[in-house]
Symmetry: C2
Subunit: 101 residues, 2 copies
């Protein structure tokens, strides 16, 4: 990408919402989050069984959701338990609510 202009400055809410939206912009990630909502939490392995995707692919999607702040991982040896990150979840929620009015 050519970035002649040193990154446009947007409103902070705009940036935050775009970041959340981007993370939600893939059906697999939506599905993962819906799954997490139902189960409240789950392990990577559970998801690998639910979705016909390679373990590395699932892991990558989880990483993106984590980077966006929508989920968080908790070490439960020998597994890792992923849960919704409620603070950011609520933040995203209110951003979308406000956006759509």
């Amino acid at each position: 990408m050519k970035r002649s202009l040193e990154h446009i400055e947007y409103n902070q809410d705009t940036e935050a919402m775009a970041k959340f939206a981007k993370a939600l912009g893939h059906p697999t990630r939506i599905a993962i989050l819906k799954h997490l909502e139902n189960q409240s939490c789950c392990f990577t392995g559970d998801l690998v069984e639910v979705f016909p995707l390679a373990q590395s692919t699932i892991s990558q999607h989880l990483k993106e959701l984590k980077n966006a702040g929508l989920i968080q991982g908790e070490l439960k040896p020998p597994k890792i338990k992923y849960c919704i990150q409620r603070d950011n979840w609520n933040k995203a929620k209110s951003l979308f609510l406000e956006f759509f009015e």
Copy 2:
């Protein structure tokens, strides 16, 4: 992208929401939509003056929003007036509402 599996089948709502989210996944497009909400409608040229981006770039973002169904263009020669597509907007709204509960 390698697609060994012939495209995973997701729930229709999941697919729809991911499509909307993807369109919202860029700050410029969020900003354009916010602008449209304020003004109710506007022309491509207006946006070119608001954002420090090339006209072709703006046009491309508008195209994506149109493809996602979030806006619609109406010919007002010699200009084109863009407005929010209310039906799909409301659909997106309810999808996100339901998603976040």
